[in-house]
Point group: C2
Chain length 197, copies 2
């Protein structure tokens, strides 16, 4: 079934409101207002707040999951892969804060389990990839789990906690925003340097 114009307006509004206020803080009335329809209409299209939220949540996961497959194929060398991963992931986090996901995960930890059950059975792709590089003596000999944590942290946190870091670095929000582009490149450099022999 296709998405009607009304539906897509609702989804756009829901995206905005849920991202801003989180699941608990979001109000159905405000979503309706932003979408320019009545609350009753909102419920006509999406039966409940939970259902509507799940739709947005899934959309978001669908943007992130493919990025985790960066480490599957054998195109490009590992340095290029790392740099692309960092830039792409930060691109997603830039217009859709991961805070949204962290919050929801705390509210209902099962949500992720269900959605990634299949994925969870296989080993972590990055770790597997790094182990292979390590066996071929192409990278530094160290625990890839640490690197994975460092990589994800450096991508997510500066955007997740932008208000605080922005203040800590004594920058104006706009300035911080443009600085993030430089940061993405430099962070990728640092990560590559961590892995290089």
């Amino acid at each position: 079934m296709t998405i009607t114009e009304a539906e897509s307006r609702i989804l756009e509004a829901a995206r905005k409101v849920f991202m801003e206020d989180g699941y608990v803080g979001a109000r159905m009335q405000r979503i309706a207002d932003v979408a320019g329809i009545s609350k009753a209409s909102l419920h006509y299209y999406f039966r409940s707040k939970e259902k509507l939220f799940d739709r947005i949540f899934d959309e978001y996961m669908d943007r992130i999951v493919p990025l985790l497959n960066t480490w599957e194929d054998d195109s490009d060398d590992w340095e290029t892969k790392v740099r692309r991963f960092v830039v792409d992931l930060m691109e997603v986090f830039k217009d859709t804060s991961i805070l949204f996901l962290v919050q929801e995960l705390r509210r209902d930890p099962k949500k992720l389990d269900e959605r990634l059950a299949a994925k969870r059975k296989k080993p972590n792709r990055f770790i597997h990839y790094y182990e292979r590089l390590r066996a071929s003596k192409l990278v530094r000999d160290q625990d890839p789990r640490i690197l994975a944590l460092a990589m994800h942290s450096m991508c997510a946190y500066p955007l997740l906690n932008a208000p605080m870091m922005c203040g800590a670095l004594r920058m104006a929000p706009a300035e911080y925003d443009t600085f993030m582009t430089t940061y993405a490149r430099e962070a990728a450099d640092l990560l590559v340097r961590m892995m290089k022999k």
Copy 2:
């Protein structure tokens, strides 16, 4: 004025509930239940939810702010400072997730501004410290803002988004928890390596 036994029981309960559910999700009734008193009594001691929350929020800030002064004195060499900062900061985040702070900051951005207004006027201590080291040619020649972001990210994020990273690394929560000790040490190593010439 001293803190009565009832008051400290309330504060303990509030700490727990606010940390678990955030400001919006927390319920006064539940705080009362956890503290083992009636909701009316709760309001007798702390007039409003906001007031009670502010008390907890301030407590938390008071634990973090001193750590930011690590870079002030000239005791110890910079490597030791970095290692201590990482371990200490992660220690705080371990029993008191910073998610709490990030959420609140989004709800009311002014809260931090007021509280750190004095601090914000001076330059960032770490950046200042690194510039000095750089001038003395003791460390690598690079933008300290990038390093500051990397350092904070690597400390905060693995604990902030523990459920997800725990799953990503295919670890059980308990296992992840003990792994954090190793991580803290290794993360500090990586950061030192980033700064070393």
